[in-house]
């Protein structure tokens, strides 16, 4: 069976999760029920059940997309060390389950906004590998035309609002998007993601207060990877129960390394937010890399801890075990899939490397919506004032 059909060479865009790559086995969409690894812990609400409805197709899609995300992040790591990616590069490997599970539970009309660890979420929202690598390397065909960089990935048509560098500033933006969704009566929700470090920002609580007051469909998702750059959770927060921090706002604590738990929680949260207003989800997850590429990640935690989590809680391993135990694919097929993914990523990188840098005139585009602003009102109206020396 030609697994090569799984990844078409002509387009490197990973297919949306709902339309998975077709798999040549007899039962594509057999429903499967999977138990989450841990029960949910709830604050001011009834936790959803541990049994998650899924299908063979979805399992395989989870595996494939997570493997793609993992591979993409590892490739970004090598590119950074080769000095093709500069500046800040925050990698998401280890946390893929959060991106995948969330995507599985929502539609493209629901908005997601996150901080700077956004490569995989962009991919999950329908971005292509080529756009990711081109943007990381600052090329013209990047998703933000090379002008944003690692921390500024956006995809408007998929309701992905980025990509923000300042810690915590995206949460009021997310509540604003939720406000607009309520204003336009869209029946959609906004997932405003932040980390355990950002959970101590005041603007979060301000935004939460307004969301609760105005009943906005905003879902605050705390991706708790237990380290705010170099500061461990217990050294930064008096109360580590981020899901309870909303006080009057209900919260749910979820095992963030289990894609199905994340999916169930997001589904639950969406239903809740549309009816009752904001809810906080705390995803208990972990990042293998350091905070960013300039952080080795081992000065504030032990290598044993990292390898321990990798052995026991790795999200891709969990899905792999499920796939194998449900006989959806064999070990060899999964290995072949991973090989293909590696090739796909390598192809995307090669193509992105060939992409040219942005034109110098791009420096002055998109500052204002039209023109550079000072052009038409320079000393001579006909003269273009915005020019490189």
């Amino acid at each position: 069976m030609s697994l090569s059909r799984l990844s078409s060479r002509s387009n490197l865009i990973p297919r949306p999760l709902s339309a998975a790559i077709s798999r040549l086995i007899s039962t594509d969409t057999t429903p499967i029920t999977i138990e989450t690894s841990l029960p949910f812990t709830a604050h001011l609400c009834d936790p959803p059940s541990r049994s998650v409805e899924s299908s063979t197709q979805e399992l395989l899609t989870f595996f494939r997309t997570m493997a793609l995300m993992r591979r993409m992040e590892i490739a970004a790591d090598s590119l950074y060390k080769a000095k093709l990616i500069r500046g800040f590069c925050h990698l998401y490997d280890g946390q893929e389950a959060v991106a995948i599970g969330m995507e599985a539970a929502i539609t493209r009309k629901d908005a997601i906004i996150t901080a700077y660890r956004d490569h995989c979420i962009f991919l999950g929202r329908g971005g292509s590998l080529y756009e990711v690598f081109a943007e990381l390397m600052g090329r013209r065909d990047g998703c933000s035309r090379g002008k944003g960089g690692s921390m500024h990935f956006y995809k408007k048509d998929a309701s992905f609002y980025g990509g923000h560098g300042i810690v915590g500033a995206q949460v009021p933006l997310g509540c604003g998007i939720a406000f607009a969704q309520k204003y336009d009566k869209e029946e959609a929700v906004t997932f405003a993601m932040y980390g355990d470090g950002a959970a101590n920002q005041g603007q979060l609580f301000e935004a939460l207060n307004i969301s609760a007051l105005w009943d906005l469909p905003s879902i605050l998702v705390c991706e708790n990877n237990h380290y705010g750059m170099g500061t461990a959770e217990w050294r930064a927060a008096k109360s580590p129960s981020y899901y309870k921090r909303g006080d009057y706002v209900p919260g749910l604590k979820v095992d963030g390394m289990d894609a199905f738990a994340v999916k169930q929680a997001c589904k639950f949260a969406k239903e809740h937010a549309l009816k009752n207003g904001p809810i906080i989800l705390e995803m208990d997850t972990y990042r293998y890399h350091g905070h960013s590429m300039s952080d080795p990640g081992s000065t504030y935690r032990t290598r044993d801890e990292i390898s321990g989590v990798r052995q026991e809680r790795d999200p891709i391993e969990r899905i792999k075990k499920l796939v194998l135990s449900h006989d959806i694919a064999t070990e060899k097929e999964l290995k072949d899939m991973e090989k293909e993914i590696r090739k796909e990523v390598d192809d995307a990188i090669a193509k992105a490397k060939d992409c040219p840098m942005p034109e110098p005139s791009e420096l002055f585009t998109n500052v204002y919506v039209k023109g550079f602003g000072t052009e038409s009102f320079g000393p001579d109206r006909k003269e273009v004032k915005a020019a490189l020396p």
């Binding site: 933000s144 944003g148 500024h152 009021p172 406000f179 935004a207």
Partner: protein, 403 residues
Amino acid sequence: MSAIIHGAGAATALTTFNSKKLVAPCRTNLPARSKRCIVVAGSDDASKSFGSSSVLSVRRPQKLIANAVATKTDTSATTGHELLLFEALQEGLEEEMDRDPHVCVMGEDVGHYGGSYKVTKGLADKFGDLRVLDTPICENAFTGMGIGAAMTGLRPVIEGMNMGFLLLAFNQISNNCGMLHYTSGGQFTIPVVIRGPGGVGRQLGAEHSQRLESYFQSIPGIQMVACSTPYNAKGLMKAAIRSENPVILFEHVLLYNLKEKIPDDDYICNLEEAEMVRPGEHITILTYSRMRYHVMQAAKTLVNKGYDPEVIDIRSLKPFDLYTIGNSVKKTHRVLIVEECMRTGGIGASLTAAINENFHDYLDAPVMCLSSQDVPTPYAGTLEEWTVVQPAQIVTAVEQLCQ
């Protein structure tokens, strides 16, 4: 010679303006207003504009008030209605909210209370709580929310109860508001209007008398305008709401009760354009917001002394309307900037640099800039008077420059 070049410049400029949609439709009123409004002792001024299509109006206070703002007497526009500046802002806001259902207002006490300066009075009753939103006191969050909503297509008007409070939202304004259009490669536009009163009031204390123009002026991606009359307040408010770029509209606490007759019809003022307040020959005085009135007061004295100052209200603080300013400099060869901003790094400082850079050859004297003192605004009345520029200082400066 310079006048002839001017005329040609004016003609071409007017035609280019015609193509821009932001020209006030009431320009037909213009000749009538200006003919009767210009009060120039002994000089016959028939020329109207230097490429500026905004209203030429001149204050004619009945008595000289030392540091208050003189109210304008009834101008001779035939149609129109008279109202105060805050009512003009409210009218502009209401008309835009009627016109476009995506426009909403958010701020502290803008809804049920009617706004601390009554700019949003009555709007909550008319449009409901979802469009006129009373926020809790969290500038950082509600400015961020306004910007987030703008990313999806809403057009919020965010009010800071006092401009100084927006310092708490500086991160949102600088990073998200100004830069998102650029860093997203053009995907998102942020059509917000951030407005609020600033400037030195009547003994309000240091923290409530701030002038934030200087802090915001280097943020790329935003536009800044300052209104000074009911006419341009309404026009700028409407233009700002319709603009796709984020606009910060600076109002002044002491100007809210200015009365003027404004046209009945729908008009907007060009956001990037300066307003010619009083054409002249001897010296160009650039000013904005409240200082316009101090300048006009000084202008009366100057005219009596035989000077002919040209007063331009620059209105657009970012970007500067270097075209109008340049034409004026080319005519008069002397520039005085009068502003309420701080001396260090203020709007005047940037304007001085821009003028020196672009029009150095036309200057007969160095550009002089009168700004507020670099001190926190004291409470005591007499001290407060001396932190801002007084008309007497303006007169002295003009005399010094023109000798």
